[in-house]
């Protein structure tokens, strides 16, 4: 961008003549207050090309959007009607790089909040005054759409010379955002395939980081990129072309391709030829539903879910003489609870997606109110396990349950839902792949994938429901069950402590102490009610004693554990220009993490902070970059989505030999990190390198990931 700002200012310097600036000031239409527009000349004139430079500034209230020259699947571009002007031959409208929006599932391309368009007024005679009598028609949409007209009257005398600093600055800034023709890269293939209505493009000559491609130029046709990948030194993509009035036929049509990348925006032109579409790189070998099923199943064995599964088994053992039909229904109810919760999660994500919010797995842990709720739920369940109170449904409910004859299956249903709720902070292998695929897929596919995730997680429950006799294989009830229950209670209490630690990031220490105090008092009160004052005092003093022991023990041994793990110095992702570091010969290790992500912690303690990886990361040539997703951050969402990830942990290594980055498996291994670091720095042998640099292509990596077990 910097070079473009420089070019813009050079253009200014070239245009030596300046003119009395004309300014419409901010105009609003009383029927549509959310939008303001202003057209002003900058004071500069290009006499040889008979051009007067001006800038059209648009301000939109929150939620309102206006459109690019090709608005995408709906919408219309802003336009200006100027036929009633004098001494005006044309208006050249320049379009800054737009953003893509998803409104109610429709992809549109445009701008929000504020945008400035450089407009070049071309005079018939540059020595004479220009009388601009124009009507600007500006579309703007939220959940409704409005076309608003703004009359614009400007009298411009190119001979009177005085610059308008504000407009000149706005113009320069806007021009720097307009994609420029890029001689460095070229379109090598532009192929339209009629029967599949797809356009295949190949672009050569540049190293791309995270390119976003906009295609336009064909009248009444809009494009959506279906697949984009790196093939050697070429950027390839397949896009669907959709006719607005009839079936599209682009053979022989000239098209504009705009590519936006980090710190770069270029424009390319070519004519589409008839031909066969590209063959996209081979995708996943495993069908996505199977991946989802496995991901869901593995969730059961994650530390956050295990206590719930244990509770369930506990409850079977406790009830002697299992009535098989009864048992079966109980387990089916829990399985239903799990599947329904996954549907609820999918629905919530869909709603967020429709409202244009960024989505991901575990984002609820970025919300303090959710953490507070979870803290309450886990603590209360732990108290329940400790036998301090029983969960009593209101008597009205109990009566209804008894009379409707379903013997309290709601409790088992809720148990399933609770298990799912606890599972959300856990990322299991395969789960990430399935979720990433689901979040990027159509709404129907998303529902289907989440159903399979739910079925996968419910699999152990469903298995017992199918063969209730397996329950008999469990050990006989005895005092050990009581101890197991306490163990689970302490696991849940540990979860509460962990959630409390997460919550500490969002609320003040005083508030956290208050919350802990309230929960402790609640516990004490429950014990008092059930067992009386004596036991209560014993529990309180035992707890205090235990706490004291832990604190004392910690203080005594602090020397040995205070710095058990080496430290790594990370720089924030937001302030880092990865390309620059790589160009300077550095290897860049990026870690996207969050405090609520257990897998991230495990990776750090187990791999990143252990020899030999830690020594490699501490080397001077390696730059460490971290993005913290504990709280919502738009730039991190964007970064993750560029690699088709929707969750953490995400680790990637860039280097001179891998400018596109080598994405690492979700569960790190020392050898994977070492190999990636070597490969990125170019230390591997040429043979190895050739087979290894291929994964720099994103799609290929995705495909690889799906085929192995190295997924989040």
């Amino acid at each position: 961008m910097k070079t473009q700002i420089f070019i813009a200012w050079c253009l200014f310097a070239l245009a030596s003549a300046t003119t009395q600036a004309a300014d419409s000031q901010w105009i609003t239409n009383e029927n549509h207050p959310p939008v303001k527009v202003r057209l002003s000349t900058t004071g500069q004139v290009d006499t040889s090309n008979k051009r007067v430079f001006s800038v059209l500034q648009v301000q939109l209230n929150d939620g309102w959007k206006t459109y690019w020259r090709s608005p995408g699947e709906g919408g219309v571009a802003p336009s200006i009607e100027w036929q009633h002007s004098d001494n005006l031959a044309a208006i050249d409208w320049l379009w800054p790089l737009p953003e893509t929006f998803n409104i109610l599932g429709i992809n549109t391309v445009g701008y929000q909040q504020a945008v400035a368009f450089p407009l070049h007024l071309v005079a018939e005679d540059i020595t004479q005054p220009i009388r601009l009598r124009a009507t600007l028609t500006l579309p703007s949409c939220t959940s409704v759409c409005v076309l608003t007209d703004y009359p614009i009257i400007l009298d411009i005398d190119p001979k009177q010379r005085k610059a308008n600093q504000d407009s000149a600055f706005a113009y320069g800034q806007a021009l720097s955002l307009v994609p420029q023709p890029d001689p460095q890269a070229e379109l090598t293939q532009v192929v339209w395939h009629q029967s599949s209505q797809t356009l295949s493009l190949a672009l050569k000559g540049r190293v791309w980081q995270q390119p976003t491609v906009f295609i336009d130029g064909a009248e009444d046709t809009h494009f959506s990129v279906l697949k984009q990948w790196q093939d050697g030194d070429q950027l390839k993509l397949i896009a669907a072309g959709k006719g607005w009035l009839s079936e599209a036929n682009l053979t022989g049509k000239s098209l504009s391709i705009t590519v936006a990348d980090e710190h770069f925006a270029g424009e390319y032109h070519a004519t589409a030829a008839q031909g066969l579409p590209f063959e996209p790189p081979a995708g996943s070998k495993l069908p996505i539903w199977l991946i989802a099923l496995m991901g869901g199943f593995i969730l059961n064995f994650m530390p956050c879910v295990l206590p719930v599964l244990g509770l369930k088994l506990n409850s079977i053992i406790r009830v002697p003489n299992h009535d098989q039909a009864h048992l079966r229904r109980q387990f089916l109810a829990s399985a239903a609870g799990i599947v329904v919760s996954f549907w609820l999660i999918a629905t919530a994500l869909l709603l967020l997606k429709v409202s244009g919010k960024s989505i991901g797995w575990g984002i609820q842990f970025q919300q303090p109110w959710f953490l507070a709720l979870m803290l309450l739920v886990t603590t209360i369940f732990a108290f329940n396990l400790l036998g301090w109170f029983d969960i009593q449904l209101p008597s009205r409910w109990q009566t209804r349950l008894a009379t409707s004859g379903n013997k309290g299956y709601q409790g088992h249903f809720l148990q399933g839902m609770f298990a799912t709720l606890l599972a959300t902070p856990c990322s299991a292998p395969f789960l990430g792949t399935a979720v990433a695929f689901a979040l990027a897929a159509s709404n129907t596919s998303m529902m289907i994938i989440f159903t399979f995730l739910g079925l996968g997680m419910a699999a152990p429950w469903l298995l017992v429901a199918a063969w209730p006799q397996t329950a008999r294989l469990l050990p006989k009830p005895g005092p050990w069950m009581g101890w197991l229950k306490y163990l689970f209670a302490f696991m849940l209490l540990a979860t509460s402590v962990w959630i409390g630690y997460l919550l500490a990031q969002f609320i003040s220490m005083a508030a956290l102490v208050l919350v802990i105090l309230c929960l402790s008092l609640l516990g004490a009160w429950l014990v008092l009610k059930r067992y009386g004052g004596r036991i209560c005092l014993i529990v309180i003093s035992t707890s205090l004693l235990l706490l004291g022991c832990v604190a004392f023990g910690a203080a005594l041994t602090s020397k040995s554990w205070q710095t058990p793990l080496p430290q790594l110095t990370w720089q924030p992702l937001k302030q880092t220009n990865i390309k620059q570091l790589v160009d300077a010969g550095h290897v860049v290790f990026v870690d996207v993490t969050a405090d609520w992500c257990i897998t991230c912690k495990a990776n750090k303690v187990g791999v990143l902070l252990q020899s030999p990886v830690v020594e490699q990361l501490q080397s001077n040539t390696v730059k460490l970059v971290q993005a913290d997703w504990t709280r919502p951050a738009a730039h991190i969402n964007d970064y993750l989505q560029q690699y088709n990830r929707y969750g953490v942990p995400f680790n990637i290594v860039y280097g001179p030999s891998a400018p596109h980055g080598i994405a690492l498996p979700v569960i790190l291994t020392a050898s994977a990190v070492t190999q990636a670091l070597q490969q990125a720095s170019g230390l591997t042998t040429p043979d190895e390198q050739q087979s290894n640099t291929k994964p720099s292509n994103l799609e290929y990596l995705q495909a690889q990931n799906k085929g192995t077990d190295e997924i989040e």
Partner: protein
């Protein structure tokens, strides 16, 4: 026992629907503040098939008429149009394409999207201005010479249907 349970559930369902109805009515009233009220503009216009239509006269009929203001340029309309198109088999519907260009383009657009509603082309927003329409999509139900319901933005098929049914 069973009967009691059913009665209770029906009661809850009815109160839920009533609440929904009250909320959407209030929202409609709020959205309709800028709309012209009485009388319905007595203008005769021609639809893209060349048939004369007078909305003031249509509103005098027994059956309700749905007037749907939309634009080919309005992304949100892509969601409402299919529902309106489906309802056009059962109800009298007149759509007004605001500022959507030449009649030929609008006709082609309707054909390509399989929309079956009657359409008046209003490239200069004349009819829209006479009705005080500021945004698209806007849905108006008229009957007995009056505007019965008015709503804007995304409206679902059942949402349109109950307004027609109650009118």
């Amino acid at each position: 026992m069973k009967l009691n349970k059913w009665r209770k559930w029906t009661g809850q369902g009815v109160s839920f629907l009533l609440l929904l109805f009250i909320i959407s009515s209030v929202a409609d009233w709020w959205r309709g503040r800028d709309l012209i009220h009485q009388p319905i503009p007595d203008i005769t216009v021609y639809d893209i098939e060349g048939k004369a239509i007078n909305l003031a006269q249509l509103s005098q009929q027994q059956a309700p008429t749905l007037i749907y203001f939309w634009g080919t340029w309005c992304p949100v309309c892509n969601y409402v149009s299919p529902a309106v198109s489906w309802l056009s088999q059962h109800y009298q519907i007149v759509s007004v394409a605001l500022r959507s260009g030449e009649p030929d383009r609008v006709r082609q657009y309707l054909e390509h999207h399989d929309y079956e509603f009657n359409t008046i082309n209003d490239p200069q927003n004349r009819l829209g201005a006479a009705w005080g329409i500021r945004v698209t999509p806007t849905l108006v139900v008229i009957k007995d010479g009056k505007i019965q319901y008015y709503t804007t933005g995304f409206t679902s098929l059942p949402g349109i249907w109950w307004r027609l049914w109650l009118a």
